[in-house]
Symmetry: C3
Subunit: 323 residues, 3 copies
Amino acid sequence: MLAIENLQLNTQGKLRHFLSIEGLNKDLLTEILDTAESFAGASEQSIKKFPLLRGKTIVNLFFENSTRTRATFELAATRLSADILSMNIATSATSKGESLLDTIRNMEAMQVDMFVVRHSLSGAAHFIAQHTAPHINVINAGDGQHEHPTQAMLDMFTIRRVKKQFAGLRVAIVGDILHSRVARSQILALNMLGVEEVRVIAPKTLLPAQVEELGVSVYYDMHVGLKNVDVIIMLRLQKERMNSTFLPSENEYFKCFGLTDEKLKIANRDAVVMHPGPINRGVEIASSVADGPQSVILQQVSNGIAVRMAVLSMTMNGNRGAE
Amino acid sequence: MLAIENLQLNTQGKLRHFLSIEGLNKDLLTEILDTAESFAGASEQSIKKFPLLRGKTIVNLFFENSTRTRATFELAATRLSADILSMNIATSATSKGESLLDTIRNMEAMQVDMFVVRHSLSGAAHFIAQHTAPHINVINAGDGQHEHPTQAMLDMFTIRRVKKQFAGLRVAIVGDILHSRVARSQILALNMLGVEEVRVIAPKTLLPAQVEELGVSVYYDMHVGLKNVDVIIMLRLQKERMNSTFLPSENEYFKCFGLTDEKLKIANRDAVVMHPGPINRGVEIASSVADGPQSVILQQVSNGIAVRMAVLSMTMNGNRGAE
Amino acid sequence: MLAIENLQLNTQGKLRHFLSIEGLNKDLLTEILDTAESFAGASEQSIKKFPLLRGKTIVNLFFENSTRTRATFELAATRLSADILSMNIATSATSKGESLLDTIRNMEAMQVDMFVVRHSLSGAAHFIAQHTAPHINVINAGDGQHEHPTQAMLDMFTIRRVKKQFAGLRVAIVGDILHSRVARSQILALNMLGVEEVRVIAPKTLLPAQVEELGVSVYYDMHVGLKNVDVIIMLRLQKERMNSTFLPSENEYFKCFGLTDEKLKIANRDAVVMHPGPINRGVEIASSVADGPQSVILQQVSNGIAVRMAVLSMTMNGNRGAE
């Protein structure tokens, strides 16, 4: 744990890599949210460009495909005036049998400044941060079933914009907690920012062992778990879990764990509904809820750009501070 | 029809989406051609950049592959100083089962300014324009067998540059009219701009029913149809129509409907030859004609950039006017 | 030969295409190295952008996949402020059956300024340079088994940075000389720049017939061939040569022609080890050597950007001079 903490922070305690919520603290998360707020305000104006990263080269190292995350990182980098090199590694160098480390060594020799890494293996971004040159920043854009910290921070940003503060909030995360790097990062961030309670609601087969140790209350029934909650975060159900030992059927899942208007009424009247997307309509969420007045799902997408701009510029600064 | 017209124009009658030639009028088409003319002149100089769309984000939403059209839109956007996000949707989000509408909603939440849409379904660009946020412009880069209006306008631009005016011109479109969105847009534009006559020359199996209602004269024989024409537009023959019920063989097709030097002599002496590309040499056109002195095929490609710059900048302006 | 020479140079003898080392001369190669040196120095500073190619459009025409080469050309172009259009031709227009010449004609009609070409056919870049419009520069990024001149020049740059001068140097190139465009360009450049001796070390099955005519001494045994050498260039072994008539097995190859610490000791004490990458650890080179103190493999990658910046800016200038 300590190693990870040190890896993410420079000697003045500033962010220089952004790898996981684990190892950070409330002050740093708040600084990210405040920085994102300044970008979000500005991007509502007509010209959305900042010269902060002019002349810097950011490499998108996507070992796993992701339209949305790649697009928002690319837009965030563009709006900070950085140059972007997008590498779809699944279809390139490593197919010539090159190791991850050799790929990294070669990219860093090209005098780039930052890696945004998405990889199907847990720990890939940490591994890269441990082994890359000291002047390079690493951002985790999702690693295996470990963490997806920029997604968690855009969720925190969305919650803070709507609810103003974290103190006193009850947040329920519903769905496949077991396989979700998003849920893991969210639980860590929510607890760090001091919400009243984090609940997970899921069938037993989709919960990790000893899940309570993450700092959550466990519910198996939405009719109970949604009572008094202020924020409901629905997780995407990976279709490949279906017809497996994990789940009986889509219909059955929707009946028990899908969010409908009727179940939404169990929560507090002003509860908001979130989802990291892309949504499966009629599987984990009813269309009427996804498109309804309590949904902030599309605001999450918008907020993703401001939060990623914050993380890109803060780590680049943190790196300067450390040199 | 009225709905489409309103959709493309703002309350002052200015272009805000560019979805189809249908619904526009002679004045607007002429404004596009005049605007393109100003860009075409400037791009013959050394530095080809205009700051008109600085800070704007244009998303290429290509649900169907197209090297040439994507490249010219990308170059047009770059020369207007816009930022471009290229989404090859065939291989991305929708493969996770997301609907077209959810894809659009998510992209617009990323605070982008314009969608350039290519889709295999007729009406896709209209559908998107109907459902997207009011500040976003939509450009149709080809939808199914419906329209390909920027291709038609670059063809009009090419004709006007060579022939100076539309009045009095006889234009023949030769080939697979039935499946061609290009031909549909061309026929509409030529009639709107007031040419003397639009002819279609094709085998019966490649003509739509009631084709005369589009405002064309119908010919089944090039030796008759090419008499007195000033402009010959050859259409690409999709190889997949071959060995089908539509056509006997490539050789047979070339013999009847391929443009050779001999058949070209039937037309007016100063007739020009056009083709939207990519050409099938020896299928719909002889190499000697494609590369000959009457061919303006490569000028069409050059003109495509100026015309797309015109459409991008006019719709962006039209949007401002409407707000 | 004369035709090729003329093709690469303008009437004042300046570079306007960069197609092959063959046809150039010592002065031109030295000018490339000096120009690269000025960029390399500058890129060690914080902001790495030069406005030299602002408003110019460079098209990456990659008919063959290459992560590394494409990335370094893209970075070099970006750092010169050019606009880049990346065409992965393998998956695009030519799949519609368009000929290479038609693809080129169409791209040049888009008013672009430069083609960076990679193609599996020897002579493809020459062919394009012969047929393209006079204002367009062509850079060979590797053509079949013919030449890879920017790779050779980054290798020369790396050697000069470490060894200060070429006179007196003994250079050994080890591996699959027969199929290597890299080796061919290196041999030509090393001889042009006046090294003392170029050696090739390989099994007979991986040497071209009459290889001595290229100006090399031939060795079949590393224990003999590495004696007194100052620079060792290891070539990548294409795995597809294995289990063929060319080679017995990877293990056998490594035993005979792989560079180990033990064999490295045969060379001069201050010999440097080079490799064009990506490396096959344990096939042509031991990890301890690739990562060891005598390896300059990653410096080669860094130098590739400065050298490509030099070639891009010199050809663009040479073109201006010729007009």
